[in-house]
């Protein structure tokens, strides 16, 4: 089965010019292990709000490419926000949802995607123009590249193994990351 970190490695080089927002846990730790950049913000709590943060960024900076790395547990906590995202469908936002069908960092208990809830179908039904499910790193890379080159809100649901790093706490402090991210945006936009 596809590993999350394989996906991250496959597309890391494309994240240089984007604003990236991730959820907590394995996604944040693995992206940092692949390589942190000042344009990455890791939301290490407030489950569900990474996608809303991406929307706020995209609405205020419509010229910037925004990438959100979400998870099944997180998006299921904010399905209302999924419809808000669909409502405004920012053209340059790419919403990746790593779906490991579980709440991995808190014991691996299954989420509703383990019993058939289909996040790509939910995305389409919410009104997101482009949504698909991928199962291999190759497919992931292709659909990510396509979404990044495209000009409409895209949602990619990547089915990944419920496996992650040993620990989730990293060297980067939350506030350091937050101020670095803000300064990065200030520098590139002058706002």
């Amino acid at each position: 089965m596809m590993q999350r970190i394989e996906c991250l490695r496959a597309i890391h080089h494309r994240l240089e010019d984007c604003l990236v927002v991730t959820i907590m846990g394995a996604v944040a730790a693995e992206l940092q292990s692949v390589g942190h950049r000042s344009n990455f913000f890791y939301l290490q709590h407030a489950m569900g709000l990474a996608s809303s943060t991406g929307l706020g960024l995209a609405l205020c900076l419509p010229e910037q490419r925004v990438v959100v790395f979400d998870g099944d547990g997180s998006i299921l906590m904010n399905l209302g926000g999924f419809t808000t995202l669909a409502r405004y469908r920012p053209k340059k936002l790419v919403h990746v949802i790593f779906d490991n069908e579980s709440l991995l960092s808190v014991g691996g208990f299954p989420t509703a995607t383990a019993t058939g809830s289909d996040l790509a179908a939910l995305a389409r039904a919410a009104g997101i123009p482009k949504a698909q499910t991928v199962h291999t790193a190759e497919e992931f890379k292709t659909s990510f590249d396509e979404a990044m080159n495209g000009d409409e809100l895209a949602c990619i649901v990547a089915k990944v193994e419920a496996a992650g790093p040993k620990g989730y706490v990293t060297e980067l402090s939350l506030l350091e990351n937050r101020f670095q991210f803000r300064r990065h945006i200030q520098k590139i936009t002058g706002k």
């Binding site: 407030a46 943060t53 706020g56 960024l57 205020c60």
Partner: protein, 170 residues
């Protein structure tokens, strides 16, 4: 509708005057005119929410982007946002300007609003969120500006409570 149009305009103008460029909102009776004003304002980004907690993420994104924002919400929406306020805005020092309609307080006739009314101020205090009341059209502009200034300088949420005295005419 006995929601004060003129006082809503004073509130809206005060938000504009302190540079607010994005408002997020979930409709509620007292906010109707404010939301319409945001709708009609080509310079304002209005984000219509499904639930108020989303607004914390949206305001954080706006802050990172260098845009000042305000959250228009009922006090029950504030209750629904508390995890986001604590584990995003307070954890990451994100300024929030919360404009909260204070339902369920003196004069409230809707029984369903009353419990939330009782909980509002104790919860604001418990979270350490400074707040002031918008109860007089003559002080609205100053109090909103002061709340915005404090939110921005402290990198912390600050709230203004829209009261019945200001919002309701009958």
């Amino acid at each position: 509708m006995p929601v004060s149009l003129s006082n809503s305009q004073i509130v809206y103008d005060a938000l504009k005057k302190c540079g607010i460029g994005l408002v997020s909102a979930l409709p509620e009776t007292w906010l109707v005119h404010l939301i319409r004003m945001a709708e009609d304002d080509p310079e304002m980004i209005l984000v219509r929410l499904a639930k108020e907690e989303e607004a914390v993420g949206i305001s954080a994104g706006a802050h990172f982007a260098g845009t000042k924002s305000a959250m228009l919400m009922q006090n029950h929406g504030f209750l629904a946002s508390i995890n986001g306020i604590v584990s995003f805005a307070q954890l990451y020092r994100i300024p929030l300007l919360m404009v909260i309609s204070y339902r369920g307080h003196f004069g409230e006739r809707d029984p369903w609003q009353t419990q939330g009314g009782l909980a509002t101020e104790p919860l604001l205090r418990a979270l350490g969120i400074p707040y002031s009341f918008l109860d007089d059209p003559n002080t609205v502009e100053k109090r909103i500006a002061h709340a915005q200034t404090l939110a921005a300088s402290s990198l912390h949420p600050a709230a203004v409570l829209l009261t019945r005295d200001l919002m309701w005419e009958e």
